[in-house]
């Protein structure tokens, strides 16, 4: 299961960022696929990005003159969320893959969560309502609205967008200022923290995870627990990388459906199901 997930993550990342000419030329793809959004956090300014980032799309719609309900972005969230929930985070998000790989580096004693996890886990909701919602609508940009989450926080944009583009584009390099350094600092902090703690950005800061988490309790793809055959050995709880209890697995907004619990259950009473 673990190997399968890694293969799916790599294949999906390559497919959604497969515009190789963009990396070679320092330009971004401008075709019709960018009308649509990918399910995971995937910066549309990545030179290889073949489609749009749902969080960027949401902010682009909120940044319009006047207030418009961002139906197109909501449509993608409802579609992906109802089908997959946070399965998107566990299996289809490029930045999730980066954090997974970093966590495999065998240095530091590994931790599932940060201290004060019970409070810090609400950080992603603060980011969603504060930076993505209120920030994009009213603050930071003055009269010209700005995508506050992308501008001030998103490490995916720095890693997949800024670094490859700046590497190839001298004119852009000349414009680097304090904002880029701030974002680079955030990226470095998350990279180092990911080696120690499992997916810190997903657990504490990702607004997309906050949205998909809401769909976890009723999405089409779920993890089912057969209580009758369970021997309460605790193997699933021990294996869960984000430290969920048996009752929380799959239904909790924190569950990214990585499948470690399914893989480690000796009685096979946990399994992925599609539908009811």
């Amino acid at each position: 299961m673990r190997r399968l997930r890694l293969i799916v993550q790599i294949v999906f990342t390559v497919l959604t960022n497969g515009y190789a000419y963009g990396f070679a030329s320092g330009r971004i793809y401008q075709g019709k696929l960018k009308y649509a959004c990918v399910p995971g956090l995937n910066c549309y300014s990545c030179p290889g990005a073949a489609a749009s980032c749902p969080m960027g799309a949401l902010q682009a719609l909120l940044n319009q003159k006047g207030f418009h309900i961002p139906f197109a972005a909501l449509g993608f969230f409802f579609l992906f969320g109802s089908l997959l929930g946070r399965f998107v985070c566990g299996w289809l998000c490029p930045f999730g893959l980066v954090q997974d790989l970093l966590h495999r580096i065998p240095v530091f004693r590994k931790r599932k969560n940060l201290p004060l996890h019970r409070i810090l886990k609400y950080g992603k909701y603060v980011v969603l309502f504060g930076l993505v919602g209120v920030g994009s609508l009213f603050l930071f940009g003055g009269f010209a609205k700005a995508p506050a989450f992308c501008k001030y926080l998103c490490p995916s944009g720095t890693l997949f967008g800024a670094i490859p583009l700046l590497g190839k584009n001298e004119a852009l390099r000349g414009q680097i200022g304090w904002l880029f350094l701030w974002k680079l600092g955030i990226l470095l902090f998350i990279v180092i923290l990911s080696v120690k703690v499992y997916r810190p950005f997903c657990q504490y800061l990702c607004p997309l995870g906050a949205i998909y988490g809401w769909f976890n309790r009723f999405s089409l793809v779920r993890i089912q627990w057969e209580e009758e055959t369970c021997i309460s050995c605790g193997a699933c709880e021990k294996a869960c990388p984000v430290g969920l209890s048996l009752q929380e697995i799959s239904r909790s907004p924190e569950c990214i459906r990585c499948g470690r619990c399914v893989e480690n259950c000796p009685k096979k009473c946990l399994r992925f199901i599609v539908g009811n």
């Binding site: 682009a60 109802s82 414009q175 350094l181």
Partner: protein, 50 residues
């Protein structure tokens, strides 16, 4: 009662339907063009320059 129970079991289906309706409204309001315009130009904010 039975309809309500079935509806709750198939909440994902209602979610998908809502998603399709929202996407349809998005198309009608031209929101996809807004997304496309933003996604096909280098987003200076996203890369930490703008």
């Amino acid at each position: 009662m039975r309809f309500w129970k079935n509806s709750k079991q198939a909440a994902w289906l209602w979610g998908i339907l809502a998603g399709i309706v929202f996407l349809g409204i998005g198309v009608a309001e031209g929101q996809f063009a807004v997304i496309w315009r933003k996604a096909t130009m280098i987003c200076m904010e996203c890369i930490g320059i703008g």
